[in-house]
């Protein structure tokens, strides 16, 4: 089955820095990837997604990079703000299945 891992469980940055959160996945059949943000006491919220036929996608202050060769994703947050403090999950989905598989998550701590 799918396993999803994260390289860094906690990332501490200063306000204004750029943050990079990494994610490795194991299922080469994964064709769609979502990043979620989970603030304390809340459910996960969608941030950005990327299809397997893309290697980069940009949103507002966020960029996701996908390297299918090594089965690796990263989420880049520009000019990190205290409000970005949360746990971030990547969730790959296998083609033909609606299920999402979540990794353990990375906690992002932003200091003012």
């Amino acid at each position: 089955g799918e396993s999803v891992g994260l390289h860094l469980p906690t990332l501490s940055v200063q306000e204004g820095d750029n943050s990079i959160i990494n994610c490795a996945y194991s299922n080469s059949a994964s064709d769609y990837f979502i990043w979620y943000k989970q603030e304390s006491g809340k459910g996960p919220q969608f941030i950005i997604d990327i299809r397997s036929n893309m290697d980069k996608r940009q949103g507002q202050r966020v960029t996701v990079l996908l390297n299918k060769t090594v089965k690796h994703l990263s989420l880049q947050i520009a000019a990190t703000q205290p409000g970005d403090s949360a746990v971030y999950f990547c969730a790959p989905r296998q083609a033909g299945f609606q299920k999402l598989v979540f990794g353990t998550g990375t906690r992002l701590l932003v200091s003012p």
């Binding site: 999803v4 979502i34 996960p44 969608f46 299809r51 609606q98 999402l100 598989v101 979540f102």
Partner: protein, 113 residues
């Protein structure tokens, strides 16, 4: 209100009791999911449903029962609660489609004593 709602938000129950967690969505999404979240395990899929009257097991289904008689509701029942089922439970829904994200409820914090 539009969206996905879970109830109750907090529940304390005793070992051996039956408890049902409710989930309701207003988007008419085909797919609904139940996850549990424990420290160090991220979100683990318990059960999911592709449509009314269609359900399937996820990663950790033991001790749980689901039903989906209506598209908008997807209750999760613990038939005989155990302490190991103390967790935060999240319900989610998604539309059918190749690239559709899942939307999550606020969660139910369940404590089994």
């Amino acid at each position: 209100d539009a969206g996905i709602t879970q109830s109750p938000r907090y529940k304390i129950t005793e070992t051996g009791r039956q408890v049902t967690l409710m989930c309701h969505q207003t988007w008419s999404h085909s797919y609904m999911f139940w996850y549990r979240q424990d420290l160090g395990h991220g979100l683990r899929l318990i059960y999911y449903s592709a449509a009314a009257d269609i359900t399937d097991k996820g990663e950790v289904p033991d001790g749980y029962v689901v039903s989906r008689s209506k598209t908008e509701n997807f209750p999760l029942t613990l038939e005989s609660a155990t302490r190991s089922q103390t967790s935060v439970y999240f319900c989610a829904s998604s539309a059918t489609g190749t690239n559709t994200e899942a939307f999550f409820g606020q969660g139910t914090r369940l404590t089994v004593v």
